[in-house]
């Protein structure tokens, strides 16, 4: 009553825990994604290491990650329930209604190694960046760098905003590999990331994935 009398504006609804986060393709915390059911039916036959969701099963965004690679290039990561995550690469602003993007990748978390000794970490690290990488009995070819020597990883920081928790920072040292899969034009990707969290705990995370077309995803 007094607020109205003295002209004080009614308060806006409470902001979300993390304020306003970018929303490329309409993706956001709490959004539901459905993958084209044909992909699950055709490619979910064991040809891919990546396990695709059951046809029609929605995947919910539980956390969002932001990575600024500089020069206007940003990676938006959306961590889904059941260990899938989606990466949208955007150059410049998100553009028209957030529909402007360069690339959409779907990954599933694979093996995570927490080296217990420096020697173990060095053994693993020595293989990251080599022209070939063996994973789950498949051979992947390096996508970043040329030549026979090991290529340097791409290093960056990611700020992660969980839907129901405070944000945190993670440092990444990444290398991307890929392999061809018979019967499809889609390659299988392998992203190896040496992750260091805010407590300086190091883990080596393997994620397998594929490139998606915009029409592969239904976002609600």
């Amino acid at each position: 009553m007094f607020d109205r009398l003295f002209g004080k504006k009614p308060q806006d609804p409470p902001a979300s825990r993390h304020g306003v986060l970018p929303s490329p393709l309409g993706l956001r915390l709490g959004a539901a994604l459905r993958l084209d059911s044909i992909l699950s039916k055709v490619l979910g036959d064991g040809r891919f290491i990546l396990e695709l969701p059951e046809p029609g099963t929605p995947m919910l965004v539980a956390a969002q990650g932001l990575i600024d690679l500089g020069e206007g290039v940003k990676l938006h990561r959306f961590y889904l329930d059941d260990d899938w995550w989606l990466q949208v690469k955007v150059s410049g602003s998100a553009g028209v209604e957030g529909e402007n993007y360069d690339e959409i990748l779907l990954f599933g978390f694979g093996d995570v190694v927490n080296p217990s000794t420096q020697a173990q970490f060095e053994d693993i690290a020595a293989t990251i960046g080599l022209p070939k990488y063996e994973y789950a009995e498949k051979t992947f070819l390096r996508q970043w760098g040329v030549g026979n020597a090991a290529s340097a990883t791409t290093d960056y920081s990611e700020r992660v905003y969980p839907k129901d928790d405070g944000s945190y920072e993670t440092r990444h040292q990444d290398m991307l590999y890929a392999r061809e899969v018979t019967g499809t034009t889609r390659e299988e990707l392998l992203l190896i990331s040496v992750e260091t969290d805010e407590t300086d705990s190091v883990s080596v995370v393997h994620s397998v994935g594929m490139r998606l077309e915009r029409t592969d995803l239904e976002i609600t």
């Binding site: 055709v42 028209v96 592969d216």
Partner: protein
Amino acid sequence: MGIISKIWTAVRGHATEAGQTVVDANALTILDQEMRDADNEIRKSKDSLAQVMAKRKVSSDNLVSKKAKLAEYIGYVEAALAKGDEALATEIAGKIAEHEAQVATDEGLIAEYDSSIASIRKAITEAEDRLKRMKVKVDVVKAREHVIRASQVAASANAGANSKVAGALESLERLQSSQAERQARIESANEIAKDGTDVGLEEKLKAAGIKPGGASAQDVLARFRKPGA
């Protein structure tokens, strides 16, 4: 543009160009403001064009994506048929039909975007050309205005000089008149002075022909020659 609008434009114009005389400056001030408004409108049109072009790019990217998926689906339906999986082949064929319709729709949409983009571009170019011509005209008018003002200053200075000459002439006339008056006074004073002396009397007698010695021998002779003299 209505009168009120003109007045408002002029008021706004004065906010950025103060110190000009109201009457002389109004026309140019309004023109300047109108050109700034036109510039802003063109900028807005360009922003709109950029938006339309961005939407066209999104539609075009989606079309490429849908065509790629169409090609991929065709591969999958052939594989499903080869394996004898009729149910999957039928489902994929349904998706192909859906995508073919979407591709046709998107192609039509992109053609509409292209048409709109061409039309907006043409309109912007025409507006820019008109504005350029208007700016040239305003520059010419402003230059003329400067020339007119300079001429007015010169004319005003000239008028001042003429006024000063006329004043001097009047003073001269007044001086001459005063001198004549003073001369008359002197002469008058002399007259009075003469009246009070023998000189005056003698001159009067002489003028009346009475003063002896004053007349010539001929005068005397003539006097004696008069009958009865």
